[in-house]
Subunit: 358 residues, 2 copies
């Protein structure tokens, strides 16, 4: 071996070492991920959360982690995203935990619960009250990680064509109200139905539906329900609906540490930001509705009805959590946190708002 050949070998080894020294190989690799949403491509602000998240991730990682968003029009399976992430066809999803109560009832309370926490109370539970740990515990058997994905704040109780004065007014009432709240309302004697979003307005207008629940002014205004149902009831069933990111755990573990932190930071921020975006959208939309449709009345269910709803809620929760230790643990943790946080909520924001009403 002559000196030149020897030094060439030395040189190649040095290039490799130099590469490792300035930046590891893993660090420079580009990761391309796919995210599936339960929502369509224009359902703002829901769709904005994963979009903003992916934008932040790309910029912060200098293009080393790129996340493609497939909305439901692309993958054609809004309620298949859980299985697609679990099975690894998608790396992550943007959805809501309570949609999976049929697969695993333990996941139900991770989105919201009737008569449960408000948004700051719930974020407090997630991040300061043990909620994140319980959420990972619930999702671990599905080989996924779960993170808050954006909050709608308090959801309205729904649009009603007629005023509701007694429990009897509810009997046989045809209402679109899905999920857990639908089970509660069914117990009160309503005819709970599910109708595709595109047909809701016409059904409500023509009396195929007497009432329906959607989200809040910010998202309801585009549906036009205020034009045909003048009673807008305040909410009880979803005081703080937190959407979720689901992430395939195996894929997450393969990311370098810095990209893991970038992804987690962007998800967490996009969730808070969606809460604020939706808050502002609802403020703007309600102001517009109230001006253009002064006939619309904000109503609260009478005490008789609220008591019946509370009773039915308690009974259904008791049924569902029977023999499910983890679900009981999650509910107990939420209730304990809420019991501590609520007095503070009352003495701070609530009394302040009360004393400043004109």
């Amino acid at each position: 071996m002559n000196n030149l050949r020897r030094s060439t070998k030395l040189l190649l080894a040095t290039v490799l070492l130099a590469g490792l020294g300035t930046a590891s190989f893993a660090k420079e690799r580009v990761y391309t991920w796919k995210l599936a949403t339960t929502w369509g491509p224009t359902l703002s602000p829901f769709i904005d959360a994963p979009k903003n998240m992916a934008k932040m991730v790309k910029e912060m990682s200098n293009g080393r982690l790129v996340i493609r968003i497939d909305a439901s029009n692309k993958h054609k399976s809004p309620f298949g995203v859980f299985d697609m992430v679990k099975g690894g066809q998608y790396d992550m999803a943007h959805t809501a935990s309570y949609y999976w109560k049929g697969k695993d009832i333990t996941l139900l309370p991770l989105t919201t619960m009737p008569f449960g926490m408000t948004a700051p109370e719930q974020y407090g539970w997630f991040y300061e009250g043990g909620g994140m740990e319980l959420m990972q515990k619930a999702y671990s058997k599905h080989r996924m990680l779960s993170y808050p994905g954006g909050n709608t704040g308090n959801q309205m109780g729904g649009w009603f064509r007629k005023e509701i004065k007694t429990l009897d007014d509810l009997k046989g009432l045809k209402m679109r109200i899905p999920g857990f709240a639908g089970e509660v309302m069914a117990k009160l004697g309503l005819a709970v139905t599910n109708i595709a979003p595109g047909e809701l307005y016409t059904s409500l207008e023509r009396g195929g539906l007497d009432a329906l629940e959607w989200v809040g002014p910010g998202m309801d205004i585009k549906m036009g329900f205020h034009k045909v149902a003048p009673y807008y009831y305040t909410g009880w069933h979803e005081p703080s609906t937190e959407l979720q990111y689901l992430v395939n755990k195996k894929k997450f573990n393969k990311l370098p540490k810095d990209l893991q932190v970038i992804l987690e930071t962007a998800m967490r921020l996009s969730a808070y930001d969606m809460y604020i975006e939706n808050y502002a959208m609802s403020a703007e939309a309600w102001s517009k509705i109230a001006k253009e449709y002064p006939n619309i009345k904000i109503k609260t269910f009478p005490k008789e009805i609220m008591d019946a709803i509370k009773k039915a809620t308690k009974e259904i929760i008791a049924e569902k959590s029977e023999g499910n230790a983890l679900l009981q643990e999650i509910l107990a943790s939420q209730n304990a946190f809420q019991a501590k946080a609520r007095p503070w909520t009352i003495m701070s924001d609530f009394i302040y708002l009360k004393d400043n009403m004109e």
Copy 2:
């Protein structure tokens, strides 16, 4: 030159090229920044916001942006941080905008205003209602950028040794209440004083002070005021106190784009997180105080007093904003946003809380 010496030179050149090849020079450069806080090193949760922010930045940048936190015990100048960032001795600060009302009254309303917005309303104003743009406009003449830095939520009105029933009860009352709220209270006839934090407890205990305002249960509990002043008044003066990051604009502009986004993302997230941390701390602390000191009474000022406070607030704002077009623009923007957001706050969270009080 023998072969060995030549190959060594070649080798050195190659190391340099290899470094440039895997990652550009600018990208790999390490930036070391210094941040000065107005607070001491243990004032939780205020100090947690910049600490968490710096930790996220370091991890997300893979050590390419490192921010050293100097608390006030280090730089010895809690109220000098504005000038130190403006002058470039520090790259950034964690402080509150309303401390600088003496330097520039335009900066006053960027933290909170009496009878102003709640936390989600205010974040809505910052991020969806033009607040961020107005904040940059206000800081541009100081050659700084400003970002939300963490929210205390609603602050309590203060600890009082005696119950306040009439306006006369306030005359001559010795109270520690700094800043704008202090000016308002002085107008109502209180003897507003400022006393070093370390002496507050003893002054209140011995009657050197009749009342004082601090933050809320989460931070107040460590001061022990509840042991000597049993009337805890609800807040009106700081419904949503947002701390601020100040960043030297020239230094910021020198950062590569990805580090700019990493820094902005981490600041924004640490602010929301501090709001939630403080919310949970207050919930926990109030639960403890209420249990251990059942004699403490939560009180609200009677309407006569609240009306006088509102009137004085309006008068002082009018005086201060006279001839200051930018301050007037900021106040008008805040008022307009609040007027739109408040009805939504009432019909969502407020009514929900009201209907679920036992």
